[in-house]
Symmetry: D2
Subunit: 344 residues, 4 copies
């Protein structure tokens, strides 16, 4: 019997990508699409690419428990801050995977500082497992509530985790991260206009990106509480899809390159979506449209640069959420995610 899933916020970029993936997933039936902005619209009005593949109409977001009752699982692809008001209305038998930032942070002060808003209820937050499958597989098996990681956070944490877990690098880490235009969402603004963006490369949110506490929290837990001194700077580029994180670290001691390579290989041996490429520096286009994250390394003396690339809508959002769903429901971790990217 198929898992009946709903998507709230299905009219946006990650909602559409999630729908694309789930429509080909053999163990899932997409039962409902909810949208605040497009209630009543047909799928072909909002996502014309799905004509002939999906006949659902968008429903308004239910305001009561009964509205969700025919679902086994609900994905939330809503703007930050909306999920936390919605989750209390969802009956306990419906599992939840939230793609927004609402339930990722344990410390309410971090939420307030970086999202500028009052944090969600603490007991509710405590029920959420961080959905980074590569490092939380065991806890996700039993999870009912999942806070799916942010796109920049995924790229950064997967690149640093083996080194942090083995305590090989100094605290000071600089991450220079680049993203594309889908990262700004579907709502049109002057900055995401085609005419503006084709020629634009610009840094934004210096020293206060909301993924900073998410990255520090995850790595601190892997590093047994040791805190990173993290400088994290994001940039908009003319890519459509993609995250590219260039991570500058220093080793605590002289370590041969081959040892670092072995560490990465063993860390991700059982992770089908992490492709470690050694000294081949990854190109974000190799991951486009796929759930892969590609990692590469460059070492000179004790200076170690890690390069991490992924598709923000797949591994950074919808694909990763399906990967977590697969673990939660006992499916093969890569079920529905085993396709290669189109090039070019």
């Amino acid at each position: 019997m198929k898992v009946r899933v709903g998507i709230a916020g299905a009219s946006g970029f990650s909602g559409g990508e999630l729908l694309r993936i789930l429509l080909s997933h053999h163990d899932v039936e997409v039962s409902a699409l909810y949208s605040h902005s497009e209630p009543g619209a047909s799928i072909a009005d909002v996502h014309p690419q799905f004509l002939g593949q999906c006949d659902l109409k968008f429903s308004p977001v239910p305001r009561e428990e009964s509205g969700w009752s025919n679902l086994d699982l609900l994905f939330l692809c809503l703007p930050h801050g909306v999920s936390s008001s919605l989750v209390p209305t969802i009956p306990p038998r419906v599992k939840v995977i939230d793609l927004a930032g609402d339930f990722r942070l344990k410390d309410p002060r971090d939420y307030l500082a970086y999202y500028g808003d009052s944090p969600p209820d603490r007991d509710l937050q405590a029920k959420f497992i961080y959905g980074l499958v590569e490092w939380e597989r065991r806890r996700l098996v039993e999870a009912s509530y999942v806070a799916s990681p942010g796109c920049f956070a995924t790229a950064t944490i997967l690149g640093l985790a083996p080194l942090v877990a083995s305590n090989l690098i100094e605290e000071r880490v600089i991450v220079d991260a680049k993203t594309g235009s889908t990262g700004s969402g579907i709502k049109p603004t002057k900055a995401t206009l085609h005419a503006s963006r084709v020629h634009s490369l610009v840094a934004y949110k210096a020293f206060n990106h909301q993924h900073v506490p998410e990255i520090k929290q995850a790595l601190s837990s892997m590093g047994r509480g040791k805190e990173l001194d993290l400088i994290f700077q994001t940039h908009s580029t003319p890519l459509v899809r993609g995250i590219y994180a260039t991570i500058y670290t220093r080793l605590r001691a002289d370590i041969p390159y081959s040892d670092i390579e072995s560490l990465f290989q063993s860390s991700y041996r059982d992770s089908p979506f992490v492709r470690f490429r050694g000294k081949t520096l990854p190109d974000v286009s190799w991951c486009r449209g796929t759930n892969f994250v590609d990692l590469g390394l460059a070492l000179s003396g004790r200076n170690l640069i890690i390069f991490s690339a992924l598709d923000n809508l797949v591994k950074g959002a919808a694909g990763q959420a399906v990967q977590a769903m697969n673990v939660m429901f006992g499916f093969n971790e890569s079920q529905g995610l085993c396709y290669g990217g189109g090039m070019p």
Copy 2:
């Protein structure tokens, strides 16, 4: 003494391009920038590329005659329909060049049919000269009011005019026209989002584009009243700038290619911005950032295709308006417009 010019609607794409051109024009002083949407803003807030080149602030659009009194010339870069309400408030000593469609059409029924709005006052419209310098040079010398041509219309008319004026082609003409994202203006919409537009090519406004009556009116006057049976279809492409018109015609008789080539050469001998390239099919990138329109031809039997390419923000808008200004004020026609395009 320099001509004192103002720009109303200077916060948009053509307003910005006009400012760029006028700042380097030796006989002009930009005295005022007006904006409905950005009154009080500095130039660097709205067009950060001009920091260090222009210190003007945006003024609100004046509501009374006295507000315009220190100008010799006002350019209107406003949405269609706004110019016609503004022009009556402008004192007669201020000349006007309107870049919108308001005053282009002589027949008020055309305006109503294609702009869906009540046409401007008929006497006022009658004062406007159509600003296609290549074919209206003599009348523009004495003009006080100019209706600057539309971008698609410019490409199409310049490509067809020599043939129509010599009565060489059959009435039925098909124009397949392509444009880029700046053609949709600076106001962000879902269709002009970078993420949507990079991969998009789509036809729009079948059989009812507002440049149809403009093209027919201009060519009818050149063809001594003979009406074209014009099919005109526009397309959005991932270009940022550019118009490319592919014009399908049939010759009335067998004419050697060399005669047609001679006709184009002689028609544009004194037009510095028309570059006739013969059998070399023009690339829109050769015109980018310039006031040139490039024309090419292909002939097979009596089937003649004309290819016409230009930059919609320059020859299709701001550059052409400056060219008309040069003629109105007795400057060299190419004053301030003599730069080549950057490639790539």
Copy 3:
């Protein structure tokens, strides 16, 4: 038991796309990849996006029958002119689908005129069935040799076929066709440089594109021998993937729009990959990455414009070839092709 397939010319764009599709096809095993330019290379050297999904190495193209013996089916993704020298070396038990133009044209004079080269052996050509599944399904069931259609030809024929088969339009048809940069192939040239192409829109091959005889041949057979007077003009645009054909026709008589709509609907009722959208003008981005062709219409008087959009690497090449394979081997026609496109 799975069909064992090989791909010759797997290092190019359509070869790569074919590999992507076949790796997810449940009834197929990709047994061998052949390349003239990259013999010995691993898949990750040439198509790094497939790391972790395919371990094959590229083999040199065999020169003798025995080299192909373990295959059931061979796809040829080679430059025009190469297939015809290769096919005679392939043993009869290996079926062949050729994606090049070598075996599409029945009349050797057409081949000579448009490909500028001596045509393939006439008896060999006669064995090939034209792989346009929507119109050749029955013959393809028994085919051993398939000449897969060209990308422009597919878009044009599918848009015109219902009208031609019902004899509803006048002979004179004008097709204004647009393509993207993958249409020029993987071999780098100055014209396909990123820096050149981003800003470029240019017509090419006036009156002599090699798809002209292919389109006329197919439509003549559907129209019981009546020949079109076809003007066909291609353009390069800054798309990466896509064909957009704007097809200008005239009806022979006054026909209500609803009748034409019905005709298209009934013509493609059993064709899962043709999406008829009526008056909604299709956007090529809705087909990107999929095997769909989207059709739309606009009618004014007797002037009928048909809009046809597809992905040149999928429906215009690799996907269509797999669709033909499915029919040849008795699989479901859409097996392995049922995924939606990623947007954006």
Copy 4:
């Protein structure tokens, strides 16, 4: 009387951009264009955008002194390594501005290590002044030989120089630099194909980019011999034009932001092409097509990030070379360079 200039290597991107700038420069006459790859070609064959603006033909590169004799100044836009073999054939009365890396490095070991080739003659190198006008104005007034800076080096040095000259930052500096596709030159490769590049973001040349010694040499001289511990990592992005350098530094002491702002303002008070934007993070599109470099800052504790943006073909190559020429010949420093960029 105008300065007679020649351009060797005028068929490439920076050669074309240089021609564009010089054709509008009132004190210069472009006398000759030389090309190894296109001798005999007309300008319209190689740079079709200049049709109607320049009638020169490309000459072969002269092999003897007499070939250069009618010039006052020669610009060299040749691949690295070619200039050094050419300069000895140029008569002393012809001044030289070299845009390649040949004569930038004082230490021949650096040249060997980073360019992988034997360095130019030491005495010849010693005659060259580094053409970074903002910091070498006085020496350039009397220069006959100029080594024009690299594009990445220009962005990095201008961003760091005020801090290094005042000894305010720690030695360890990390520069994460991004460029566009024109940075790879006009020679087509698989990596610069439009189809590859649109979706690509990739790091390259880890720890061994040839601009590293150039940056260290320049900053060491400004910092009175103190050496930076520089990590410098370059990335390719889908931009066409542009350099964006994100420069991570640490202050030696607690310094208020306003002091740093004052330092930048005073350092560049007399430099018309450096636009210091304070806390506004620059967008590379604001500099596109112009000779400006835009600088911005972000400070948190002692962590200071400097953001530096420019157009690689103008301030990073051709424009900067003309700026140096202006100083060498006693013209106004911004002569011929005073235009704003087109947006978008």
